[in-house]
Amino acid sequence: MKFYWDLSREEVLGAVLMVVSLGVPVSAGAQATAADQLTGKLVITGSSTVAPLIAEIAKRFEQNPDVRVDVQTGGSSRGISDARNGLADIGMVSRALKPEESDLSSHTLARDGVTLIVHASNPVTALTAEQVVGIYTGRIRSWKDAGGADAPITVVNKAEGRSTLELFLAYFQLKAEEVKPSVVIGDNEQGVKTVAGNPDAIGYVSVGSAGYAATYGVPIKLLPLDGVAASSETVADSSFPLARPLVLVTKPRPGNPLVRPFLDFALSAEVNDLILALSFVPVR
């Protein structure tokens, strides 16, 4: 529970209204006063998966004292349409662009992968897609039917609205209503702890947090998918199938002079620590 976007939007609106009422002219775009002095305002809208990361990056970018970055959520499709019709300077999209969206220029910010995890003591080393679907829909109830010991499976699912849930459901072509969970969790950390504390549990969390926990000795095991091991490397080079790019889109020739410097900053290795902190995988 870290972000309340609607509130912050109102705060931003309030701040803007205050400036207007004080009689300070607010131009639509931005002006570059000196060569390296950035001023103005940048509007970024779109995917709620990307928004927390962009908000962190924006906070760091706002160390340029006269720059304001306004981050709003509303889903990837809003990011596309806002960037297209100029309501936003940059759109945030949590999937690869479709062919009909090639009128926008896209920049891959980071990648997000989801891996299935089981307890380290579980003898199961891989599951087929049918087995995963069977387990999550309640058709397979014991590990004995999935190549393990005779023990009831504890199915760990994510709460509604989480992007990991959406990615997982889309990949296995499941509907939210079909999943029969034994435990519902919030963030990735809780998922890792729940599986680590239950030898018969299966869950799915972002590759970033699972890999981090496993390296630090938490008793969990990352399952490969379609024969590809789940790791930051396979997510970064696109060979891991249950993954997606996090993309920033702009018009081919953005009108706001702040867009270029912001993209240069957001797409540089300087923000890799922020990407890792939010359990995504840097691509640079």
Partner: protein
């Protein structure tokens, strides 16, 4: 001057409560208008992602879960807390009673997330070995009972300590036994304070979020047994608020409104009970 300051302080406190309720009402208004209050009680499940048209918004399993958790925790902690209080005031030597009181104060000050973490890494795996999946109504009740036990014990002790010494002397003069004195004189005299203690314990239990979120499993289902995973109203808000938009977000504020309504009902019921006495 002092009167004005006091009046202002009281006004600020009152205004905060009223403003907060108004805010929650305003935020939940879109859901109440689009979805309608009755669907929160009649919808078969909780799948709010589809919005007002395609989603379902049943809150009943979560209301049941919150009530079951609170009832279970208070049923365990209230008698235990009362006994601890009596032990301190009437049975323990002074040194032991003071040490026990300090211990309870420390226990009361531990943040709930610590209780939740303990529950998640110790209690849940333990129950899991017995009745999987471990994250369950029982785990929630035990953690909550532990959390409200110090509240109950400390407040009950304070209530018992305020019973005038004359009552005890009178009871002794009448030749009552120690148990008879406690049961027949001290506890009835401390009744109002004991009710307040229980009410505060209920309030803490029903509003507790983090610990419940961590140990209860959070599956939206009416509890069928002690070992079934459940989701409390508070946990529902904490789990989904960060990513909720539009109708979904507004529906979560309705969860909050429901929670506030439950507390109001409980307080009114307690008032009635006290008035009837």
């Amino acid at each position: 001057m002092l009167a004005a300051a006091l009046r202002a302080a009281a006004f600020v406190c009152g205004a905060f409560v009223v403003l907060m309720v108004l805010f929650v009402l305003r935020e939940s208004w879109p859901a109440l208008r689009e979805i309608g209050l009755s669907r929160f009680f009649t919808d078969p499940s909780w799948h709010p992602q589809g919005g007002a048209a395609a989603g379902t918004f049943g809150l009943v399993p979560m209301i049941t879960a919150s009530l079951a958790l609170t009832a279970g925790a208070v049923a365990l902690a209230a008698p235990l807390g009362l006994l601890c209080a009596l032990f301190c005031t009437d049975y323990a030597p002074l040194g032991l009673a003071t040490a026990f009181r300090r211990l309870m104060e420390v226990l009361a000050g531990i943040p709930s997330v610590v209780y939740g973490f303990w529950g998640l890494v110790v209690l849940v795996p333990l129950i899991n070995r017995w009745q999987p999946p471990g994250a369950s109504l029982l785990a929630g009740i035990l953690v909550l009972a532990l959390m409200i036990l110090p509240t109950m014990a400390l407040l009950a002790q304070t209530a018992i300590a305020t019973v005038p010494a004359d009552y005890r002397r009178g009871a002794a003069a009448l030749g009552l036994t120690r148990v008879g004195t406690l049961w027949g004189v001290v506890l009835p005299a401390a009744r109002s304070g004991l009710y307040t203690a229980a009410l505060l314990a209920v309030g803490r239990a029903i509003g507790e979020t983090m610990a419940v979120l961590m140990v209860c499993g959070n599956v939206v289902r009416s509890p069928s047994s002690l070992f079934a995973p459940v989701r409390a109203l508070t946990a529902n808000i904490a789990l989904e608020m960060a990513y909720a938009l539009d109708d979904h977000r507004s529906a979560l504020f309705v969860s909050g409104l429901m929670l506030a309504a439950m507390v109001v009902v409980l307080v009114l019921a307690a008032e009635r009970l006290r008035a009837c006495e």
